[in-house]
């Protein structure tokens, strides 16, 4: 299976472990992810905040690099939503579409962004690879692990492939890996990353609410689908503890790292040692014998 692929800036930075684990499991599943040529930043929440047309151009520039009628796989929730959004925005606002298409045409850029189907990597595993094939690759079921499925906002809102408030895709995948998937009310409650740098107190409170429930549920780890959520929940636990007098120490891993562990791939190839909250204790709960 071959897919156009948009990694996004984080996967070349703070989410190096996401990149490593994606590469490792895709090799195992014989999936080829081909990075689109010279992709640019999706604009995140910043471009939309200053100029919504800039946000649409940034996304469209990436989409037109794909062949018409093809699919583009995105690993980061924020990039996914930005790229996915172009289609509905162009449909809703034909005048804006016309303006942006005209500007791109001035630079000899043709191609119709609406012809590209944007999909999240998690969606590809569920709908294209399929749980059966994933199960057939499992050598070390995660049956000793109690996991919190955390989706974040932008995987399912405002658009997406699952329920906007109580999605199940990640629950299904982790269950297929043999893990004990815990109920989690705040699975799509915002982690607050967009206001972390501008209003830290508010963001810390948002993180705390998620960690608090994860702890209350007895989760041994939080599993995420987005580098932005990962960084926020992982890197700021210290600060949350200082601010609220708590002592949370919950590892935060990518769903692709959980898949890699179940596939028997070595933790070093999954960037497992790169958590700010150490993840190594989880390895004791993975079966030794293959």
């Amino acid at each position: 299976m071959n897919f156009n692929y948009y990694p996004g800036c984080s996967l070349h930075g703070a989410a190096a472990d996401y990149r490593m684990s994606i590469n490792a499991i895709c090799r195992r599943l014989k999936m080829d992810l081909t990075e689109i040529e010279d992709w640019n930043c999706c604009g995140a929440t910043a471009a939309s905040s200053e100029n919504y047309k800039m946000a649409l151009v940034l996304a469209a520039l990436n989409l037109v690099k794909c062949e018409n009628e093809s699919e583009l796989v995105v690993a980061c929730n924020a990039c996914y939503q930005r790229l996915l959004n172009v289609n509905s925005k162009f449909k809703k606002y034909p005048a804006i579409k016309e303006e942006i298409t005209a500007v791109l045409a001035e630079f000899g850029i043709s191609g119709d962004p609406e012809k590209i189907k944007v999909r999240h990597l998690l969606e590809i595993f569920l709908e294209e690879v399929g749980l059966e094939k994933i199960k057939s690759n499992i050598v070390k079921p995660l049956s000793e692990l109690r996991l919190i499925p955390y989706y974040g906002c932008m995987l399912v809102r405002p658009e997406g492939f699952d329920d906007p408030e109580q999605p199940t895709a990640l629950d299904e995948l982790l269950t297929a890996l043999g893990a004990q998937v815990l109920p989690f009310y705040r699975k799509t409650r915002c982690c607050g990353n967009a206001v972390m740098s501008t209003n830290e107190k508010t963001a810390l409170k948002m993180i705390k609410e998620i960690l608090e429930e994860a702890h209350f549920r007895g989760g041994q780890a939080i599993v995420v689908t987005c580098p932005v959520c990962q960084l926020n929940l992982d890197a700021y636990q210290d600060k949350v503890n200082k601010e609220f007098g708590t002592s949370y120490n919950i590892p935060v891993l990518y769903f692709t790292q959980a898949m890699g562990l179940a596939f028997g791939i070595g933790p070093n190839k999954l960037g497992f040692d790169r958590g700010i909250v150490p993840r190594e204790d989880l390895l004791k709960l993975i079966p030794k014998i293959e």
Binding site: D17, D38, V103, T202, R274
Partner: protein, 190 residues
């Protein structure tokens, strides 16, 4: 949190309401029933001077300056809970973006952390085509609160030690054309 501002009728700007209605997220605000589902769903409304529900009422009243100078619009974390739940189908998150767009274009509240944050991010995207997270956060912090850098150092060191903070710059190849396209779009305004 503050109550609705009380101002003289001559200081209201009905044209502001008309303008917002023409922009993304503003189309349906006439249909708002002021139920407050948006404010109740919002994870940061407790820190806002005016909640999303109040902002909509203020836009409809024509309170241009009060809306554009509010801190609330910069507190939106873009989680889309309000948009998912609004019983009148108002795209409130898009409306918040539109208010930020107008505020940034008019220089309103340009000294607040929000606009500086987004502006710094966007200038880096325009320059390099991609974002280097470490470089961005340092640039932003130096602009707003240089002493905060010291407090950020421990986390920065951890990120470095975990090999999650690449020092080499990341950039696209075709920068020249990319910059021209973005300049052309910004010229067009919102």
């Amino acid at each position: 949190m503050e109550g609705m501002p009380v101002i003289k009728e001559r200081n209201l700007h009905p044209q502001f309401y008309r303008r917002v209605k023409m922009l993304p997220g503003g189309e349906k605000i006439e249909a708002c029933i002021q139920c407050g589902t948006c404010s109740g769903s919002c994870p940061s409304s407790h820190t806002m001077d005016y909640t999303p529900r109040k902002l909509i009422a203020m836009i409809r009243a024509g309170m241009e300056e009060e809306v554009l100078k509010s801190k609330a619009i910069w507190m939106c974390a873009s989680c889309y809970s309000c948009k998912a739940r609004c019983p009148r189908g108002i795209a409130i998150t898009d409306l918040m973006y539109t208010l930020k767009n107008i505020a940034m274009a008019s220089g309103c509240g340009h000294k607040l952390a929000g606009p500086v944050f987004y502006g710094t991010f966007n200038r880096m995207v325009e320059k390099e085509g991609r974002i280097n997270e470490g470089k961005f956060i340092v640039t932003f912090t130096l602009k707003t609160d240089p002493f905060k850098i010291i407090g950020m150092a421990p986390l920065g060191m951890k990120m470095l030690a975990k090999r999650r903070l690449p020092l080499k710059a990341t950039a696209i190849k075709n920068k020249e054309e990319f910059r021209k396209i973005l300049a052309r779009i910004r010229e067009a305004g919102i």
